[in-house]
Point group: C2
Chain length 215, copies 2
Amino acid sequence: MTISEENYIKVIYHLSLVSPKGVNTNAIAGMLDTKASSVTDMLKKLSDKDLVSYQKYQGVTLTDKGFFSAKMIVRKHRLWEVFLVDKLGFSWDEVHEIAEELEHIKSEQLINKLDAFLGFPVADPHGDPIPDAKGVIKKIEKQLLSEVEINASFHCVGVKDSSTDFLKYLDKQKIALGSVVKVIDREDFDDTLTVEIDGKRLTISNKIANNLYVQ
Amino acid sequence: MTISEENYIKVIYHLSLVSPKGVNTNAIAGMLDTKASSVTDMLKKLSDKDLVSYQKYQGVTLTDKGFFSAKMIVRKHRLWEVFLVDKLGFSWDEVHEIAEELEHIKSEQLINKLDAFLGFPVADPHGDPIPDAKGVIKKIEKQLLSEVEINASFHCVGVKDSSTDFLKYLDKQKIALGSVVKVIDREDFDDTLTVEIDGKRLTISNKIANNLYVQ
DNA sequence: TTTTATTTTTAGTTTTGTCTAAATTTAATT
DNA sequence: AATTAAATTTAGACAAAACTAAAAATAAAA
Ligand SMILES: [Mn+2]
Ligand SMILES: [Mn+2]
Ligand SMILES: [Mn+2]
Ligand SMILES: [Mn+2]
């Protein structure tokens, strides 16, 4: 597989988690910042290689082979992110781009040794689960902070949006994975939350709460 | 720079250490396992980018810009090799290919943090020097074991040939970087050496001695 | 159910990096 | 100095991955 093919497969994987009955050409183009016509070309190529099943105008799904490949790329991406944060001291908003390159390094032995070196982590720095060497993903229980009942306490376990802007906002508010969040109140008008994070009171918009996973 | 351009620049760098007045097209083709005509094409491209100075039929040399780029690629290659051996437990004959890919990861921050994580090593697992962030290479004093006087003791500090075959031979004989070598005798007829390695007596062909650096 | 809008595909180019075969230049031998 | 050999470059082609513009299919609206 070329780097380009891998990037397509990974994007189709992520999109198919949301639309399992078929991923649209335009959606892929949007994620990869390319043109729909380029996507069509690539889908034919991936179909020839039996990585996706594709019928014109009907969208695309991953084959078993494509699904496994996708999970291996995601595994590499997330393990490298753990390495960058835990071992090299990068912050969680700096690692995505670099992992986007590292995920294409070919050696299977490398990634398994890296996995062991990191202590077989189950989640990446953004709380996303890491597939194991066989492609098994341990499901992490989580709810959006925006959907949780009032007057209960939770742990932050992940982010839905991992844009730099959002992650830096969390840093500023000293919210990290593991932080304890108690929901004090929800404003009826706009769903603004009053919460206590590690004991400190804070007001949080619905947009924020809608991108933070807790458990 | 594309991956391909980087591979060419690095090969030109290595070859120009041996032939500083100009590197031949065929030599480059041989190292990269490609055709001379492909090399000519690429040399024009590199020349346009001011990475090499090139006149048809006259061979190429690196410009200052190309020379620095080459050293940064070598730096990355060798730091990743140290990582693979010291941190992930690869043996010294397994790391070259993987480093060949890792050396193309773009982030400068990444490589400097990796350098720090590894404790600013000055040599890679094969004894080759690692350029620092500014491109400065600390010269490692060394002689070939084949050229050393008799009845003196040395430390192994590097290999000239880092092929799997040679490295595996050294492993079998329990010769590693740091091993103490005492030269007992040199056979006049074929320059075979009798040596003591970490106290154990051993007979070594000239070809072996000619690929082992000591100090 | 037509008509219109949107999505997707096709057709035809472009760039990068490679190749083969032929031409040219330089080097080595008579 | 002429001939032969080797090295290098040019010319033309190809595959991968992208693009633009136009055509076709599907979905939405009237
Ligand atoms: Mn990627
Ligand atoms: Mn992540
Ligand atoms: Mn390389
Ligand atoms: Mn090395």
